[in-house]
């Protein structure tokens, strides 16, 4: 059994929010995704990935900002991990 992984970064913590960023990892070896290999997201929303057969297996927790650092920005906040198995 081989795993394909899709990571989507969404506009809010809701799974039906717009896709802002994405990454692919292909355990089948059929494709070779790379940084900066495309400008168009694979799906418009996270739910669109579900409709296409991707299985959600992890989502970012909602974390309060660290006291004293409420205005700082860092990593993208709303990260969702999907897989397909074959």
């Amino acid at each position: 059994m081989k795993q394909q992984v899709l990571v989507l970064y969404l506009n809010t913590s809701a799974l039906d929010a717009e896709v802002l960023g994405w990454a692919n990892y292909d355990g089948t070896g059929r494709t070779s995704p790379a940084t900066g290999d495309g400008d168009e997201p694979p799906y418009e929303t996270g739910v669109d990935a579900l409709k296409d057969g991707w299985r959600l297996f992890q989502a970012s927790q909602l974390m309060p900002p660290y006291p004293g650092h409420e205005y700082e920005t860092s990593f993208l906040k709303h990260e969702f991990w999907f897989e397909k198995l074959e």
Partner: protein
């Protein structure tokens, strides 16, 4: 080689604060580009010690000096980093033909928490860069995010990213914090990018042409929302740009749509 001509305007500076880069297409003449490629192919450049004053860093007649003497380059650099910067380091980056991999998205050096100073990185492309040559990937507006080096390597693509294609002789000046990486070169051509990092030696306050400081377009530039940025976090980005603009202008009262003022309003409280 400093000049007081060709300084950036306040609107252009605000655009830099919001996007993290200033791009000048084909600003380097063909005669210099034609010298640069074989020089970069020949091997390493002369060493420059960390912190060398710019006026002593590069020999007369060198390609580095020729690029930095171009008025548009000199004026933009002075506007961003101020007069008499030092050279942090310089390096020729090469992406080999069909090398099969890209750099992970990263910020250079280490996490840098300065809010009232920044380094500038010059990237010079002596050749035309086509899409297949794997031009530098960068993420407009990512420079104020506090992340360390390649910890962002998981992000393969972001909406609104720039996959650089450009004519020969293009120079991009970048804020030190911008997320970027060399893309996979799928062409038959060796691709060169020459980088110089500059450190400021004076406070970076009103170092550009401030004649248009009160232009409403300044606030509009600082208020841009980037397509890759979450809506909520984009508001924090504007807040952080306000903080940076206050430092750059020395105007502690500057604000946009009351973002910074309302959250600091604590009547009667001093601590």
């Amino acid at each position: 080689m400093a000049t007081t001509e060709h300084l950036l305007t306040s609107v252009e500076m605000a655009r830099f604060v919001a996007h993290g880069y200033h791009r000048m297409d084909a600003v380097v003449p063909a005669a210099i580009n034609e010298r640069a490629v074989p020089a970069f192919e020949a091997g390493r450049l002369p060493d420059v010690s960390f912190g060398t004053p710019l006026r002593r860093a590069f020999a007369e007649g060198s390609i580095s000096r020729a690029i930095l003497a171009i008025p548009a380059v000199a004026g933009a650099l002075r506007s961003l980093v101020g007069p008499d910067p030092t050279v942090d380091h310089h390096h020729v980056h090469v992406r080999e033909p069909h090398e099969g991999r890209a750099q992970p998205l990263h910020g250079d050096a280490v996490i840098d928490t300065r809010v009232d100073a920044f380094d500038v990185q010059l990237m010079y492309y002596p050749q035309e860069v086509t899409a297949a040559m794997g031009g530098t990937l960068s993420v407009p507006g990512s420079h104020l995010r506090r992340t360390n080096e390649s910890d962002t390597g998981r992000y393969q693509n972001l909406r609104g990213q720039t996959r650089l294609t450009c004519p020969a002789g293009t120079v991009v000046l970048l804020h030190h914090g911008i997320w970027h990486g060399g893309r996979r070169n799928d062409s038959d051509i060796r691709r060169y990018m020459y980088k110089i990092r500059f450190n400021p030696t004076v406070p970076q306050v009103r170092t550009w042409d401030v004649a248009d400081l009160d232009d409403p377009a300044v606030a509009r530039e600082l208020s841009v929302y980037h397509p890759w940025c979450e809506h909520a976090t984009a508001r924090l980005e504007i807040y952080n740009r306000i903080t940076m603009w206050r430092a750059l202008t020395g105007d502690a009262s500057f604000d946009i749509d009351y973002w910074a003022t309302r959250v600091a309003n604590r009547p009667g409280r001093v601590a």
